[in-house]
């Protein structure tokens, strides 16, 4: 057993894009060849470096996460490691059998039955026939399709197809496993099952490289995370810190700081008293993404100097993206008297640890001159996203389907059927 499972040094991959049409035809090539002597200057071929000088080391048994924006080069890195495409420069050493899970259902043929596809897909993914036979029952059990084994796969529901495809791939036993966001498909139950299996694989001492946009699974499965931007590794370290860096970086546009003066969500016949609203995270930075349970600060700027009546209250209501009203808060609840309201200024609400489940949320903000009288309200003033987080400390990640909030709860067992003495 060698000291390292993967060693990459200076890996770079260049692609040709643009000018040249992807598919050539002989006719065009001949034409170009004939015209070449008459052409002035060289033919510029546009290239991009999908990977540039990527170097890293992975010890056996480590689970490495790779994160980055779309187009950063994560999939290209996996493709190079999976020997699907050749590096333009650099070198990588892989110690052990490599299995790649770059999509669900590689090699499946719709006309063949489930049984036949298990063998076909297994063989394509690199399993020997004997291996497939040995693991056949496990695969069928994991996929829960015993009754449909001999039906052509084209008659399967999407769920069955995905379960079967993942079941085959999950029973690969390579020393190095490369996984590319395959866990992003399917319903919640399926994703949970996949995560569970991935977890087993990770604990089993296999070296895994996982590319994902799911920060929750990255955090719960990985021991080290690489962040890729524009083909280069820009960050490498413990999951929590790299994920946090990535989320901060994903801000880009300042949609977390919204000008409300001409907002389309303003209720009719309301005057533009609300000026701006923005959301800040625990570090005081303007942010649109939060981890479940992370502190959110809502700052609402307003200018009521032109109003005859003084302001009496300000508040917001929180909605999930599906339209479920989660709750809200306003200054009346805090017992804030109207005299505290500057006629022009900012009101700041701090949600210290909102137990929100992952998903999209939106805020509506409002101002009133009286508890029942609104003077300005903007619906869907600002949106933000909540990412999965290990709020319970047990590795169990909630999803939007679990509900709008995470309940904090304790559990106890009592022996026997007699009434418990508390």
């Amino acid at each position: 057993m060698s000291a390292l499972a993967i060693r990459a040094a200076g890996l770079s991959k260049r692609f040709r894009i643009g000018q040249r049409p992807r598919y050539k035809s002989l006719r065009e090539s001949l034409q170009n060849a004939l015209a070449a002597p008459f052409r002035r200057g060289g033919r510029a071929v546009e290239t991009i470096w999908a990977l540039r000088d990527v170097s890293f080391e992975v010890a056996p048994g480590e689970v490495i996460g790779v994160i980055g924006r779309n187009g950063a080069g994560k999939s290209t890195l996996l493709k190079v490691l999976a020997r699907i495409t050749e590096p333009t420069e650099g070198r990588v050493e892989l110690h052990g059998r490599v299995g790649s899970l770059l999509e669900v259902g590689t090699g499946f043929h719709l006309e063949l039955t489930g049984r036949e596809n298990i063998f076909l897909s297994g063989a394509i993914l690199g399993m020997k026939r004997a291996e497939i036979v040995r693991r056949f029952d496990e695969i069928v059990a994991f996929a829960e399709i015993d009754r449909f084994l001999d039906t052509p796969v084209k008659h399967y529901s999407t769920g069955m197809y995905l379960r079967l495809a993942f079941a085959v791939a999950a029973h690969l036993e390579p020393e190095i496993l490369l996984v590319d966001e395959v866990l992003a498909v399917g319903d919640v139950a399926f994703q949970k099952k996949c995560l569970g299996k991935m977890g087993e694989v990770a604990v089993g001492g296999r070296t895994v490289l996982l590319v994902s946009h799911n920060m929750g699974s990255i955090q719960s499965l990985c021991s080290k995370v690489l962040m890729i931007r524009n083909g280069r590794i820009v960050h490498c370290g413990r999951p929590a810190e790299v994920v946090a860096a990535y989320l901060r970086e994903s801000e880009g546009n300042n949609w977390a700081d919204v000008d409300l003066r001409t907002h389309l969500g303003r209720l009719p016949r309301m005057r533009p008293i609300l000026q701006r609203v923005r959301l800040l995270n625990a570090r005081g930075e303007v942010s649109r993404t939060y981890l479940s349970g992370e502190r959110i600060v809502v700052q609402i700027r307003y200018d009521a100097s032109a109003e005859r009546e003084p302001l009496a209250g300000a508040g917001f209501i929180l909605w999930t993206s599906a339209g479920v009203r989660v709750g809200g808060f306003n200054t009346y609840m805090a017992g804030m008297p109207p005299s505290r309201f500057p006629s022009k200024g900012m009101v700041e609400f701090t949600l210290s640890s909102p137990p929100l489940t992952p998903g999209g949320y939106s805020l509506s903000v409002s101002l009133g001159t009286h508890q029942a009288i609104l003077c300005d309200k903007v619906e869907s003033a600002i949106q933000f996203d909540v990412s999965p987080n290990d709020v319970f400390g047990t590795g169990y990640l909630l999803t939007a389907e679990d509900g709008a909030v995470a309940l904090a709860c304790q559990v106890r067992f009592h022996e026997g059927m007699a009434e418990a003495q508390s």
């Binding site: 020997r83 590096p87 020393e175």
Partner: protein
Amino acid sequence: MAGASAPSPDVWVLQPEGRFAGLRLGQVWAYRELLYFLVWRDVKVRYKQTILGAAWAILQPLAAAIVFTIFFGRLAGIASDGLPYPLFAYSGLLVWTFFAQGLAQSSASVVGSANLITKVYFPRLVIPVAAVLSGLLDLAVASPLLVLMMAHYRVWPGAAIVAAPFILVLALLSVTGVGLWLSALNVEYRDVRFVVPFLVQLWLFVTPVIYPASAVTPRLERLGVPGWVLGLNPMAGVVEGFRWATLGRGTAPTSLIAASAAVAVVLCLTGALYFRSVEREFADVV
């Protein structure tokens, strides 16, 4: 579970390879089970949900043999080496159909496997080879009819029958050679797809399938061209050789077969080398 205890024999080093990377036939051998599964898949899929099923494998050469017999045998009166024309035609068409099918399937095979090539590693040489091998079953299915026809016409094979397996190997080499070239070219130049049916049609006329070589060589020799030149078409050696081995007439067309064998081997080698030299771009271009 593999993990910490199992020794890992594989160490892969990936780095940019030169244009002339080796053939890596060892890799192809290591993936022979995959080759089997791909052939199995092609065969299964071809015969699923078809009413004709295996009958189609017989119908193709048979229908062509019937048409040729009527138009070339009877009406145009083309010679057939002393054999009844139907028998002459069917035996030639048997191996010819294997070649034509193999060519059609293998030339499209790499492009058709784009979904695999971009997702999983295995030596890509396996793809066109599997396409060619899947035609062997069709050949096997259509062969009994030849035996029946031979019985009907009371034509029995002589000692030459022992050469039949070698002729088949020659046929395999020929199809594979051309298939490798075409499948690799098709990835870069997509109009190869349209060239193939046309190519196969012309090739049929150039090969002594409709007519015997003996109808052509005398005139060639009178023009100063030695008979074996016909063998530069590898299928000429295959078809004539197959007819000679199974139907046992006439002298062995050794020079023809030798020429065809040489060409087939060269096609195979150069085809494999070309394939390997462009293989690394497949996933990027396909």
